[in-house]
Amino acid sequence: MTENPSHLPPSGPFLSRREALQATAAAAALATWPSASEAETSAAPAGAGTSAAAVPAVTLTMTVNGRAHTLTIDPRQSILDVLRETLNLTGTKKGCNQGACGACTVLVDGRRIVSCLTLAAMHDGSRIETIEGLEKDGALRPLQEAFVEHEGLQCGFCTPGQIMSGLGCIAEGHAGSPEEIRFWMSGNICRCGAYPGIVAAVADAAGRM
């Protein structure tokens, strides 16, 4: 699962051991993470392998896909965790959880970011857009259409992040040529290698938008 370009060397026995460790850690985190309602009532959710010291919960508001939410969360939760586990918006994917794959890309106040490295508690009042918010009255956005037309995906795991990042790339004015698109979409890793379709989709949508 882990695509981790930032940790050198890129391959070798110890990285695969590391991957195994990470997979275990991720599973443990999922198993022990409190639901929103638990977090509200008990302010001391168990962190994997740590003391049970109290963590004061944080209350904040966040507008997600146009809907305002008042949330009481654990300060350890990333925006990604809040989206997936508190708000049940599982379109945004957890890949590496380390900023390295782009699967968790969302727009915060109009800018693309990796939501896994962003503590939600630092974003009181933020406006967040996720893949779930793109469709309007049953119609897909041009970039979504383009991903379908150009087969910009195989397994689809990275697709929500690719699309959110593609929206950012186009809005920033970095979709002028295939080379430019490749450079400015490099924060999104696709295990299947569907890049030609992804680049074509972003180029096509940039032309239409």
């Binding site: 963590v55 900023g99 800018r111 990796v114 630092m122 990042s165 490749r182």
Partner: protein
């Protein structure tokens, strides 16, 4: 993740007071959250400094002054930065990914921690993480590690790209702490590992980086950053070079040169600079000067290639800087 307390502040004084009593600053979080999740760093108190008025980018005379909380993406896209200090813009864009640059701050970038994989492997000896435990990289997988400035205790490179440009350009930084304010060259922020590899920078407890000042020189506009890495983008440098040139009457009058990916801190190349002044900007002169760059290199088993790649990268960066109209 382990438990911690998160506080916010809008006052620089309060932030410094909190940090002086043990809290850690958090800006973009792209280094800190990552290391906290892996329990490499375990601060129990975080102070969110994003409410501080430290994100402006301004021009003062010939200087570009960049707030510590300015985002990498905003600095790189700033028209004044692009015009007056293209090396800063280019080195930023060559670092991380667009999503990370939208969050990551300039101050946090300078204080990012090493990317040595053993530093993050809690069960591997690492003097930087646990002083005295040993260094797994010296006899391990060290293709990405440093050849300059290393010690028997740590051989990790400093990973920042923009720091290489800032060191080349004689940038200074302003910090504020419990004892007041001071300014010093960015180069002096970084320590060599020596026998204290866990101490990476020269900030005093509680000190907050407030701004970075890049002095403009006539060489600033003819400046390029070249980053050599395993793939074309979104990867840390194997070797990088920042080069700025002033050419007058067909002769190099001034030059600024620094390298990344090879040193335990951003590596200023003053001997190469001295060698170039007064020479014609030609490949032969570039190559003779660049040959001095690996002076004192102590290559490891897997990173000998850097001794050859470093001068080549410098030559190419100088050629690119010379080509800038």
């Amino acid at each position: 993740m382990f438990p911690f307390v998160l506080e916010k502040t809008r006052s620089i004084e309060d932030a410094i007071a909190a940090a002086a009593s043990g809290a850690r600053y958090i800006a973009g979080g792209t280094t800190l959250v990552d290391l906290m999740r892996e329990e490499v760093e375990m601060p129990d108190r975080l102070i969110d400094i994003n409410g501080l008025p430290l994100d402006a980018i301004r021009i003062e005379g010939d200087d570009v002054v960049i707030g510590a909380l300015a985002r990498m993406a905003d600095v790189a896209a700033n028209p004044d930065v692009q015009r007056l200090q293209p090396l800063i813009a280019e080195s930023l864009i060559e670092g991380a990914s667009p999503q990370l640059r939208n969050m990551a701050s300039m101050g946090g970038n300078l204080l990012q921690r090493v990317r040595c994989p053993y530093f993050r492997m809690l069960d591997a000896p690492c003097n930087k993480r646990s002083p005295g435990s040993g260094c797994s990289a010296i006899d391990g997988l060290n293709a990405a590690h440093a050849i300059l400035g290393t010690s028997d205790h740590c051989v990790a490179t400093h990973p920042s790209d923009v720091a290489v440009a800032l060191v080349a350009l004689d940038a200074t930084m302003r910090v504020r702490g419990p004892e007041g304010e001071r300014s010093f060259p960015v180069e002096e922020l970084f320590r060599l590992p020596g026998d204290t590899p866990h101490l990476e920078h020269t900030l005093l407890p509680g000190e907050l980086i407030t701004e970075i000042r890049v002095p403009g020189g006539p060489y600033s506009r003819r400046a390029r950053y070249l980053k050599v890495r395993d793939r074309a983008s979104y990867e840390f440098a194997l070797v990088s070079a920042a080069a700025a040139l002033l050419i007058e009457d067909g002769v190099i009058r001034e030059v600024r040169l620094a390298a990344g990916g090879v040193g335990t801190r951003p590596w200023r190349l003053r001997d190469c600079e001295a060698q170039l002044v007064g020479k014609r900007p030609e490949r032969q002169a570039f190559a003779e000067a660049a040959a001095l760059a690996p002076q004192g290199a102590r290559p490891l088993h897997h990173n000998r290639f850097k001794v050859v790649l470093l001068p080549r990268t410098i030559v190419r960066a100088l050629e690119m800087a010379g080509e800038v109209a």
